[in-house]
Symmetry: D2
Subunit: 312 residues, 4 copies
């Protein structure tokens, strides 16, 4: 059975027809205004109708950032859209006569990697999405871990550093503040100011202004061998690996999949992550060790995963 997956982002929605092997048969993207929830729902309905005009499908999955309740029906809270305890499934169901499942977008991407990507051979997997922030999804014993209230998997808000960097969530020292694109840019700007003698390569890429530096600048400079950029990715990787060791102590996965834009740095990020992980893993020598690998499905993971979840 084919299913449609819809991934609602901050500025656009992506929708695709996905076959049972995880192949995307057709994909459409529409820009949206996140200020207007009604418009977003209309765009979802339109995209579904557009795809159904060409493909026979049996279910629809909808992925969005935020908390989705245990019934995978209501959005309790979305950070980027004005949904607060919103009955998204019922609202969409008045326009779409197919079974609908709503899921958190990181969970959807994690499920896709588990079913069709870097975690396909595992029963226990963790996905980490190192993008602007740090998201995650947990699969245990072949099932997505959703928690009692649909709020599980918020890896980015585990505390890594007591009294550490203030997070947008209001707490201090969240892992996300040390292992995300936002953290990378913040630390890069600070290093350009505090150690200006090492700043040349990155400043050149940023057009001369430290405030304009971006994560991809760091990756590019690191690839060219710039010592500061390499150190910045090493520090980020070390923070990533340290947290992964915590997850391994708790969840004992076979594989940890790292995706998101910052993971484009590949082994410049993952080699130091593996090193820190190895140095921190509990009870080494008395246990098989999980492997840390890059994600395979790229930007379509949310669409693929939520379609598969909708299929049931």
């Amino acid at each position: 059975m084919h299913a449609i997956g819809v991934d609602i982002g901050g500025t656009k929605i992506a929708a695709g027809v996905v076959d049972p092997d995880g192949n995307v048969l057709r994909l459409v993207r529409h820009g949206t205004s996140s200020d207007d929830p009604a418009e977003i729902e209309r765009a979802v309905v339109d995209a579904v109708q557009e795809l159904r005009a060409e493909h026979e499908v049996g279910a629809v999955g909808v992925a969005a950032a935020g908390f989705v309740d245990a019934e995978r029906s209501r959005v309790r809270f979305a950070p980027n859209i004005a949904w607060r305890d919103h009955a998204l499934r019922d609202s969409l169901a008045t326009h779409i006569d197919l079974p609908i499942v709503v899921e958190n977008d990181a969970n959807a991407a994690g499920w896709a990697e588990f079913r069709f990507g870097a975690g396909r051979d595992a029963e226990h997997m963790v996905l980490l999405t190192v993008g602007t922030g740090l998201g995650g999804a947990i699969v245990t014993g072949g099932s997505l871990l959703r928690g009692a209230f649909g709020a599980a998997g918020e890896v980015g808000h585990m505390q890594l550093v007591p009294d550490g960097q203030l997070c947008g969530c209001g707490h201090a020292g969240c892992w996300e503040q040390y292992a995300s694109g936002r953290a990378l840019v913040r630390d890069t700007k600070a290093a350009l100011v505090t150690t200006p003698e090492r700043a040349d390569a990155l400043l050149r890429l940023a057009g001369g202004d430290p405030e304009d530096v971006t994560g991809p600048h760091v990756t590019e400079a690191a690839r060219a061998g710039d010592p500061l950029a390499l150190e910045l990715l090493e520090d980020l990787g070390a923070a990533l690996g340290t947290g992964i060791a915590d997850l391994a102590a708790l969840l004992d996965p076979e594989v940890v999949v790292v995706g998101g834009g910052v993971a484009d740095a590949g082994d410049l990020l993952l080699a130091p992550a593996r090193r820190a992980f190895t140095e921190q893993l509990f009870a080494r020598g008395f246990r098989p060790e999980p492997v840390i690998v890059t994600a395979r499905l790229g930007n379509d993971a949310g669409v693929v995963g939520v379609a598969d979840l909708a299929r049931g």
Copy 2:
């Protein structure tokens, strides 16, 4: 069907006949020498035979500290007994003609609380055992989380403080170093030295020598209102609550059950734990919150839990 549960401790084994409602119909205890694995196995076999002489049972569960493999058959590593990748189930099966299941002791206790104790109304639960060390067990969606290799649930070795107190496991800053009986005694001794003007009550209980102070001394002094003892339990509780907030971000349980000897302090420990948890919990206001409660089954939890797991 009745089942036998056997809980192998460092200096004794407890074995009991457990009915399907978690009642212990008969319990026996035997001292053991942990230096001799063969003697321990003989004691297990003897206890099982003794109990079977009086009760009809259909399965046997055996709980021990350490890593148990995913098949719940081999002990990969035990901290207190000289088992290294030992085929405990097969070895016992040559003497016991019943289905046998081997399980980690914290997992067994957690399962007992989940099935018959403080977690019986939950689907998602975490057990924390605050004894000499800090152990734990995780139940998600009604199943015990064992991980890919049977090593899940090692909560005590998540890192709470980067570059923090050295742990017996070789790493620094493990949660166990801040939320366990051993941590309490260590910090108490240090406080008696660094702030002697607050030491009177505790020193009196310890017979005058700071080196002889124990965890129960702290609880007793705190109950009598001693400010230093209260502060020590508050600090321990805060460390407990901070880590629980991490677990909640990741696992989203309905209930966190706190057992172990240190939990005898009750609300002197749990009130500050709840406070720190509340101050640290991610996304409060947009999610139901787990409750933190004391364990109900006491010392028999391991026997009850592993018998129930053996039953199937």
Copy 3:
């Protein structure tokens, strides 16, 4: 001999005639635009001439935020004024025919407390100014500690928390990020969001908007017994006391004087500071302990201190 002290702030200058006992005989204040260094210098010259018209004086001291060189002549760097390696003394000397001394403003205030205020009976003193930021001055053996290059006493930028809160200076975890008015406001806003059930009193004072809360609101609420405000001041005090213990290990002062706007909270701040200090002080019992007291000279300390330093 009387001397004139001039204290250059961000938005105004204060100038006074100070007698040898530290009494301010006459004080004038002028608003300034910190955008124009020339205007500031003219305002200094004008104020000096105005005061000299009425009083016989023998020297002029000028205090400003920033680094002043070892000769107390050039301003290497000022955070609020566009002075970069500026020969302030020589520039003023073309208009003022008196001996002139330039000094860092925190050093000036510290000197005043040492000579005429809370440190007058000590030979070894530390001043901490808990204002928007955290400044300091050190007196050892009766002399102001200026360091090799005039940069000593930057207490606010000692690291309190590794990988902690990012500071405006580009580094992470500076003491100032945990013991200053800015830290208090930041943590208050965060607490209003993360524990809204405790927010009522502070929100009322802030007119309903967490973004409008100020340090004085916290002090006011704490005085009225509000638990959240009390806890916020306790946390700030604890951070203050912990750092003071470091200073005592290093400098062994008799007295630590705490001034600045946040110190208006008095014992609501200093009691927890003393407690944390006591718990952290090295080698208690084998040394006399410094006392922690509030500053006495208030806003005029800079004027008084720099006048006295100019007197020589």
Copy 4:
């Protein structure tokens, strides 16, 4: 004028005749039993008489670990000898008819480096002694900083890591726990256990038993290029450099001198120390920066320094 310097260690005393240029004209060493304070005093008197038989001297300086009062007369507390508020100067004066000065041993060594060694061109200097523990001495404006009660300069007990490694002093996270020989050995043992695949070179030097590894083993292995040993010295150096940045923010020295046994590792230790220092130094670019160099006077520094201090 020549003077005699006596340095009282845990198991021996060294005594020497020192000329005004810091040259040691004659040196004697005697073993002592630290259990008997009277025997130590007799050994000091004997050594002084032995040296005076051959050299004309005008003063005697005596250096010992511990707190020495502000009059440089009484030992308030010594960690290795049973002196508690002991009038050491007066006691020695009954047998030695020369002016006597008592001084803390780290202060003595620091003074020697300041007068005749690596700090001779500076007015503001810090000495760090990285031996079993971490000691220090501070010179400001050409004077030894002794503090109000003779307890200044205890750099090793500034807090580097909140809730960090427990220190023998009873507090957690002291700098000494991260930048000393004891810390190096502790971390080496832990690394041999947690990352055994990197342990070969160090284990070979230690004769196969991780418990037998020493600091010099690490230096030797690092010199031979062993990655684990290099990393251990890098971590130690980073901790050293981070703390030095704190000292620089506070004291603004021209030079930081690093001595003690661990400093034998030279740039294997100091290069990472300088790197961490540079990354952490406050207000770089707006201030001259102190240099970090190795000590020059070796084991005789205490004798040389305390003789010079006695000379007055």
